[in-house]
Assembly symmetry: C2
Homo-oligomer: 422 residues x 2
Amino acid sequence: MALASTETTATTIDFGPAAALSCRECGARYELGPSFACIECFGPLEIAYDFGAVSREQISAGPTNIWRYRSLLPVPADVADKPNMAPGWTKLVRADRLARELGIRSLHVKDDSGNPTHSFKDRVVAIAVEAARNFGFHTLSCSSTGNLAGAVTAAAARAGLDACVFIPADLEQAKIVMASVYGGKLVGIEGSYDEVNRFCSELIGDPLGDRWGFVNVNLRPYYAEGSKTLAYEIAEQLGWRLPDQIVIPVASGSQLTKIDKGFGELIKLGLVEEKPYRIFGAQAAGCSPVSTAYRAGRDVIQPVKPDTIAKSLAIGNPADGPYVLDIARRTGGAVEDVTDEEIVDAIRLLARTEGIFAETAGGVTVGVLRKLVAEGRLDPDAETVVLNTGDGLKTLDAVAGHARPTAVIRPSLDAFRAAVAG
Amino acid sequence: MALASTETTATTIDFGPAAALSCRECGARYELGPSFACIECFGPLEIAYDFGAVSREQISAGPTNIWRYRSLLPVPADVADKPNMAPGWTKLVRADRLARELGIRSLHVKDDSGNPTHSFKDRVVAIAVEAARNFGFHTLSCSSTGNLAGAVTAAAARAGLDACVFIPADLEQAKIVMASVYGGKLVGIEGSYDEVNRFCSELIGDPLGDRWGFVNVNLRPYYAEGSKTLAYEIAEQLGWRLPDQIVIPVASGSQLTKIDKGFGELIKLGLVEEKPYRIFGAQAAGCSPVSTAYRAGRDVIQPVKPDTIAKSLAIGNPADGPYVLDIARRTGGAVEDVTDEEIVDAIRLLARTEGIFAETAGGVTVGVLRKLVAEGRLDPDAETVVLNTGDGLKTLDAVAGHARPTAVIRPSLDAFRAAVAG
């Protein structure tokens, strides 16, 4: 099978409406291939499209997963029929109780913990799997802060591909178990995420990594497009309308830039009315290179050594940081950060008001939302969306100290009266 | 608000198409109320309906959650607009790779780990919350083996109700954290689930438990109906068709009996064609009172003291056990059990073939499916569905010994070559 797909690569490649790779910096265009950097200027490559006519009706008639937007993604028209994780169409939860506590009028939580491996990463990986198939790769790989590793190994299992993924060795147990249970190879690296990432770049140039698809390296232009589906879903779930304000976590920064791209495409295609929207980036204080640059009014990101419980956002040298700064400034948003203590408080706040148990990354966005409201930097009367991109079950330790039984008792009414109801 | 709802109870009670409570044993009928046992014969009460006309089109036009079936459930017509967890419409995953390994033709996994708190319990609790609102209860409660406690405390948080839930004190950490993070009271009981359950029955008769809705005791007739939505979804997702064979976990047995009820309703309402289907119950060998009775050809369930890693199925005295025996025998199915080792093997098998990380309960159903196929007791050519009712992240310990990094290395190609790719 591997042979056949290599031989027929030229004729079977099908990226749907994707037309080319184009450099985000200099605009140079390239054929669709497993490339990620411009050979002219080393800028990052992204997908350029020739969109056909796309209607709300056509989308709404699609499956209840990201493939309803297949005509806006670099995937073949029959993608929904292939074995993949079919992520997306997660809930946009109306958060009235949280809104009331924060003192804002209209708030929704886009809750991506409902994805198959319980983080938004299933979205990006699903697109990368199609690219890997197109290019005849046999092994799916990535550098990961944890969630991505689980998403990649699960997707590879389902697609019948090999997997070999790389993580910092000191991750949460839940993420380690999840990344290895699907049967691929999981390699712990003694070092930070940024060191894992550098290692993967080396591996890609080595014969060892031949015909490997690194979802967030050589497949990155395809992979990154998966985040656009968050924008599409939010708009469709609001009744084909953009929100006024949105709070998005910033790790590499890719997700935030792609949500902005997605909103822009919806406007251009006439699927939503044009209107201004403000994009806010959220970081953990213990890994805040982008918010630090934002506050200082700088365009350049100074890499940092992460030290935060929000490990899924612990990227000290974020590739798309400068674009995040651009977008926050252009849309009238901001980039802000919160301490680990504020993250834990925000996880608990979201849980007790809305019944949503978020990962630390969700504590970061809700914490930043709360901070921005308190400081009067977010309009309390405007329609607001906050993202939860992961699941509390993966970062139990963050709240374990606060989440214990009220009491442990013998099974008797007297014991209950004495310990709990007295 | 509590006052108002008490005063207006008589006029605002709205259970949609539900007409009465009726005794499963003697058929005696009662007004809809917070009762669960027949005063004539002590049999369990269940919901009797006056269904209006229900069409496939009407259902398909509904929301992508269990409320699309609101006209088949004891809930008001506007239930989707109220703050609740909106569970359901989880994936029915086509499992070709697993089917191939098992040697069967057509297999789907109904994957309920996609629910808001990652178990099927969100379905039953969502119905119970509506009943609690109808009866003016201020506190939501339950006895639980873990998953239910999380589902109840999350749903109470979102609905703005108090929660006080009871669990055996020795549960998995993930379930304890999840059940307490939403801010309700979590009480650990020194004893088995069956002792927790007995304690709750005492509490219900005590003034301490006044105006408490115990979802699986005094709200049980409403609560249990939530499991019917699994039957509805499976049929709709198969293209409005019943499967030939289905494997369902058995704890109290309620879920299995309600799936059978749901299939029956779909036939009666003309929503699917009538056809025979076989229902198989799955238990853990360490808590197998129903499969033991099945094998022995008995009608009576002998209670056991559970000892299994499948804690969510560890009910030693299953209330609906006799009905499970009836249904398995009537439909030509069976009740079977698997050892803890077979459970772990099955979790890993499902993960590496389909990218689905199941709770131990999912290991039980997949393990029993495998055993039934191997023993020739399940038709390999018939359309088969197996349920996964919970999430692997909640029972990490079951697989932690098998799910470790392949290697931990320095970030260098030499180290990688030596440890992994050599």
